[in-house]
């Protein structure tokens, strides 16, 4: 039996990949092939499938992977996914923030004078929920890349985005106005695997917790 006791894990490519593989190394999984090959997606022997972080809940919910690792930002945006959130892995710490250009806050002015603020984001659901929860009217503009561009070009007054260090924001003359929540990497599980493969999942969870 492999180091994952026969479980298949969905591993996020991108910023979380390195530390995810470090966690798997500590569990005794051989990640050398994953590290050396950034085109291959399925590593059958190691029990690893790699994908975009935002696809991890999709694969895990459907049972195409038993467990997975992804950011809390993805889980909040895809809140309707039926997956178990088992453990906060602690790495990949970021903040979901509301930012606008520096100087007088244009979002505040838009709300005061127009009753409505335009918000550009890659996270339309959580951004809409946040504005609703805080009692403000917002038009959510979904963009797929470089959100920072939106307030600089007049597409929107504000952005909702994930930031780790704030460097990109500063470089684009944006300032953080509100923190919506803090996000870290989470270990998630398929609800059926959580029951049918309970021993394997609990064993893995215990070893992850022990570090």
């Amino acid at each position: 039996m492999s180091a994952l006791s026969g479980l298949r894990i969905a591993v996020p490519r991108g910023a979380l990949l390195g530390e995810t593989l470090d966690v798997l190394d500590r569990l005794g999984v051989d990640t050398a092939e994953v590290r050396s090959n950034d085109r291959k997606l399925l590593f059958e022997d190691a029990g690893i499938v790699t994908m975009r972080p935002s696809d991890v809940p999709t694969y895990v919910e459907a049972g195409a992977a038993d467990i997975g690792i992804t950011g809390k930002d993805v889980l909040v945006e895809q809140a309707e996914r039926e997956v178990y959130e088992l453990h906060d892995l602690g790495f990949g710490a970021c903040r979901m923030i509301l930012a606008t250009v520096e100087g007088p806050d244009p979002a505040e002015e838009a709300l005061r004078r127009l009753g409505m603020v335009r918000v550009a984001t890659k996270y339309p659901k959580l951004a809409a929920a946040y504005f609703e929860r805080t009692g403000r009217q917002a038009e959510i503009v979904e963009v797929k890349g470089s959100v920072e561009l939106a307030p600089l070009t007049g597409l929107a007054e504000a952005i909702v985005d994930l930031t780790a260090t704030g460097t990109t924001l500063r470089e684009n003359g944006l300032v953080e106005r509100e923190t919506i929540f803090e996000a870290t990497a989470r270990l998630i599980a398929n609800p059926v695997a959580h029951k049918l493969k309970a021993a394997a999942i609990d064993d893995l969870l215990g070893r992850v917790r022990a570090g």
Partner: protein, 317 residues
């Protein structure tokens, strides 16, 4: 020639003969068992008065689709059969001696995100056992559930068994303030153990109580996991025949989405499908809301999901 496409609403679909034959075979297998076990089949209208369905309670299976009829009455498409059957029992069987046994094959309607195995309109097959209290009633429902699944040819399924009253009782026992309980139950029902731990840490509880509230809902396994608090489930399982008993996985954190459950709850899992195929539980208070208080238990299987699981087992074998 270009085919003309006349669209149907997303989350609905047409069933053509090849599929229908297979679905029919599943339904026939289930019906054979329901019938043999003495569960009489009933049908109720797809449309009910919204006020009737609302008696299912807050957090219950709220109807997703409403229409206003030509007299101005607000009607809704039923979201399950348990609430309509509760209505039937209170009105048509007001004086009949319990226990009453009913089964149904009926389309139910919910607002769901259309994806694998989830539909707006879906066929449910299920039974309701009314007036059979406690462990005996629950054990009968589990026995009929497993006999039904066996009859369809599903081989590797397991039944998760939990107790909807367990966690609320633990919260009360640990002295968790009333106003904090709903939040903790929300984390549990959204299966977020990280959120649960966080909320528990924010409360002033003894380390031991906090540990219990965090670990107990993550406990699942064989009969060895039934420590204190599992007495109700132990009573159920002791009444089960061996083959059914072997299917049970105890799951002390099992919560069902429907709010009317009061005691034992269960869900069916199969390696052929990533989501539960169906489930059920005790709802001892629902009938009282319709004026005929009777303890009750039932289950519903989503026939499409069962079909997908059967196909999945074929693929896995």
């Amino acid at each position: 020639m270009v085919a003309v496409i006349h669209p149907i609403p997303s989350g609905t679909r047409d069933v053509l003969p090849d599929e229908m034959r297979e679905l029919r075979a599943i339904s026939d297998a289930l019906r054979g068992v329901f019938d043999r076990e003495g569960y009489g089949e009933i049908a109720t209208p797809s449309l009910e008065h919204e006020s009737v369905l609302a008696r299912g309670g807050a957090g219950g299976p709220l109807p997703a689709y409403r229409v206003v009829d030509d007299h101005g009455a607000v009607l809704a498409l039923r979201s399950d059969m348990t609430v309509p059957i509760a209505r039937v029992v209170a009105t048509r069987y007001a004086t009949a001696d319990p226990p009453l046994r009913f089964c149904y094959f009926a389309n139910a309607f919910r607002s769901v995100r259309p994806h694998r195995g989830q539909q707006r309109e879906f066929l449910q097959a299920g039974v309701e056992l009314l007036g059979a209290p406690g462990a005996e009633g629950t054990a009968e429902a589990l026995r009929v559930l497993c006999a039904s699944l066996d009859a369809t040819g599903l081989e590797h399924y397991r039944v998760g068994l939990g107790d909807a009253s367990l966690y609320p009782a633990l919260l009360a026992e640990a002295g968790v303030p009333e106003e904090a309980r709903a939040g903790l139950l929300h984390e549990l029902s959204t299966r977020d153990f990280v959120g649960l731990e966080r909320k528990l840490r924010a409360l002033s509880l003894s380390g031991e109580a906090r540990e219990r509230l965090l670990t107990v809902p993550q406990v699942r396994g064989g009969e060895e996991v039934l420590g204190d608090g599992g007495a109700g489930l132990r009573a159920v399982v002791e009444l089960l025949p061996d083959d059914v008993r072997a299917r049970v996985i105890f799951d002390l954190g099992l919560v069902r989405d429907l709010a009317y459950y009061t005691g034992a709850v269960f869900e069916v899992y199969d390696p052929g499908l990533g989501q539960p195929i169906g489930g059920g539980g005790r709802y001892d208070e629902l009938l009282g809301r319709f004026g005929r208080p009777l303890p009750a238990v039932g289950f519903a299987l989503t026939v499409d999901s069962l079909h997908v699981a059967l196909t999945g087992e074929e693929r896995l074998s």
